[in-house]
């Protein structure tokens, strides 16, 4: 369970171009459910996702992960939590070009010092599960959009996180691939993982795989 209390986030604070992206968010995200943040561009969805996923700290307010308050932790501890608890699928996939699909999948586990063979086997199993075993040695820039996203999902899962965070996961996919992604999402939920995503794609937010939709506008929750 992730609990957000009075979360506010400012950019360029104290400067003439100060901007408040989040304005007092109170939200509890249930574990082992699929939650979607919906809203127009600039509504604060992605900023909220970065705070939930320990990529950024709120300007004020508290974030609790299970029973622990994490909003005040120094960067090092936040990185630890981010690495062990969250897996990220970015809108542009953010794969490292020039490396193979397999190498990209293994990347998040490098700082953990896990034995190389074990890590390789786990990464290969993930690619296999996502039907990419035959493309594991291919450079990521040679893969199609759908394949790239599946590599990104495998990378997000390599450290076996409890929570998967996906930012606009279907923004760069056609309908078929988007449906495929929703299928993967259901599988992850079935494994007992929590999934938090942002989207304004009806195919996602109206899908039965999404248990809760949280609507946002101007840095505040409007419903959900």
């Amino acid at each position: 369970m992730i609990e957000l209390k009075q979360i506010r986030k400012a950019f360029n604070q104290g400067r003439p171009n100060e901007y408040w992206a989040l304005n007092g968010i109170d939200l509890t995200i249930e574990a082992q459910k699929v939650t979607a943040f919906r809203g127009p561009s600039g509504s604060g969805k992605t900023t909220l996702l970065t705070i939930v996923g320990c990529l950024a700290r709120p300007t004020s307010g508290r974030v609790r992960l299970a029973e622990d308050e994490i909003s005040g932790l120094p960067e090092r501890f936040l990185t630890d939590i981010r690495r062990s608890t969250f897996g990220f699928v970015f809108q542009q996939f953010n794969l490292i070009k020039g490396l193979s699909a397999l190498e990209n999948v293994m990347l998040p586990a490098f700082p953990t010092g896990r034995p190389h063979r074990e890590l390789r086997e786990r990464s290969e199993a993930l690619l296999d599960r996502l039907k990419l075993a035959h493309r594991r040695e291919a450079r990521v820039e040679w893969l199609s959009g759908g394949e790239q996203q599946r590599v990104a999902i495998a990378r997000a899962l390599v450290n076996d996180p409890k929570v998967l965070i996906a930012d606009e996961p279907t923004a760069n996919l056609d309908t078929t691939l988007s449906r495929e992604f929703m299928g993967i999402l259901e599988g992850l939920h079935a494994e007992g993982r929590t999934v938090i995503l942002t989207s304004h794609d009806p195919l996602v937010v109206e899908s039965a795989a999404v248990h809760r939709v949280v609507s946002m506008r101007d840095g505040q929750l409007t419903e959900g």
Binding site: T46, A56, E75, Q91, N94, M106, F110, D167
Partner: protein, 378 residues
């Protein structure tokens, strides 16, 4: 400990994969870097070995050489000087030496003619230096004629060639008997070119030199340590000239390396953001870049240094020999004894590896502390 080693292994794996992605660029950098180390190390190794060689050879030379000066020019030692010196305390042995230069128009080169003190060379015979033997095609038993400055022709039988080991100083030497020497150069009887003195106690050398200067005010004592110092500074000077000529190349490399190492491309910055977002710490990113800088600079240093070592000690430094050894018609041909100065290697390492590592680290530090959420916003 195992996890630490595994982690370093992962970081090295990633670094190597990263380097391989920009193969041409990194190989080019490695090549230029290694070339720079090669050039600097060649100059350093060669001059150091030359200095060592000169010091080794001069070890056998007399502690003091006394020359007589007339109007500031080197002149012959008149009879009676040897006896005067004999009374100075601390002088172990005195030897009046006979030597001079002879221009051989056949090979257009100067030889040094010398008459050793003891009657080591019999009348009518010669012992020649290795370069003289090579240039005139001489072997023991051959006869050779030289026309003296007086116009008279003298013929000698070669009875020996000086050993190769002493070639740095004996390349152009021709040894002959005293009577032959005096006859060939029409050298006045009883006079010498200079006087070699041996002093047993090294602490007394300067005292003896001072005594010589006051006893024979028209003479100049030259100390072995001064000769050594002169050799050292000649080689230092040549090393300096080469390095000055190379400085443009060194600066060009410095700019290239700095540009490559410090100028992080937008792509590299983006990658650092991604790595941080997926769970890499700032320290992991810095360690990875340290491995990258370390692998490049150490590989370049080792490759450059080993190539320089082989060039100098295996192939006789063909690239820098003419500048560093000096110019002569009769080049001494000698193989340098491999001599490596630890301090010199450390200095070279410091000035080639450290600046590169610094150039890698500074910008990475700035990039690595950026917020991980930048990946989400790219």
């Amino acid at each position: 400990m195992n996890a630490w080693i595994e982690k370093q292994r992962h970081l090295i794996d990633f670094t190597l994969a990263s380097l391989a992605r920009r193969k041409a660029k990194n190989l080019g950098l490695l090549l230029v870097y290694a070339l720079l180390v090669f050039v600097l190390a060649s100059v350093a190794l060669y001059t150091h070995a030359l200095r060592q060689e000169a010091a080794q050879v001069l070890k056998q030379s007399p502690e003091i050489v006394l020359q007589r000066m007339v109007a500031g020019r080197h002149d012959l030692i008149p009879p009676g000087y040897l006896e005067k010196i004999g009374r100075i305390r601390g002088v172990q042995s005195i030897e009046g030496r006979l030597w001079g230069y002879y221009y051989d128009p056949v090979v257009k080169a100067n030889y040094t003619f010398m008459a050793p003190a003891a009657e080591a060379v019999k009348p009518g015979t010669l012992v020649v230096g290795p370069a003289v033997a090579r240039s005139r095609g001489l072997a023991p038993g051959n006869t050779i004629s030289f026309r003296a400055y007086s116009g008279k022709l003298f013929s000698f039988t070669v009875v020996g060639v000086l050993p190769h080991a002493s070639e740095l100083v004996s390349a152009d030497l021709v040894l002959m008997g005293e009577a032959d020497f005096r006859a060939f150069f029409e050298y006045p009887a009883g006079q010498h070119t200079d006087i070699a003195l041996s002093v047993a106690n090294p602490l007394e050398v300067r005292t003896v030199a001072a005594k010589l200067a006051s006893a024979l005010p028209d003479s100049r004592p030259i100390l072995r340590e001064e000769v050594l110092r002169t050799y050292a500074s000649v080689f230092d000077w040549r090393e300096g000239i080469v390095l000055a000529l190379l400085s443009a190349a060194i600066f060009a490399f410095a700019i290239l390396a700095w540009e490559k190492a410090s100028g992080l491309s937008a792509e590299e910055k983006r990658e650092i953001g991604i790595l941080k977002a997926i769970g890499w710490e700032t320290g992991d990113v810095i360690k990875m870049k340290l491995w990258e800088g370390g692998l490049i600079s150490l590989t370049a240093f080792l490759a450059g240094f080993v190539a320089a070592y082989l060039q100098v000690f295996r192939f006789g430094a063909p690239l820098f020999e003419p500048v560093l050894k000096g110019w002569a018609v009769l080049y001494p041909r000698f193989e340098l004894v491999p001599a490596i100065d630890g301090l010199q290697v450390a200095t070279l390492f410091f000035f080639t590896v450290f600046p590169y590592m610094a150039a890698v680290l500074v910008p990475i530090w700035r990039a690595a502390i950026t917020d991980p959420d930048s990946a989400m916003r790219s």
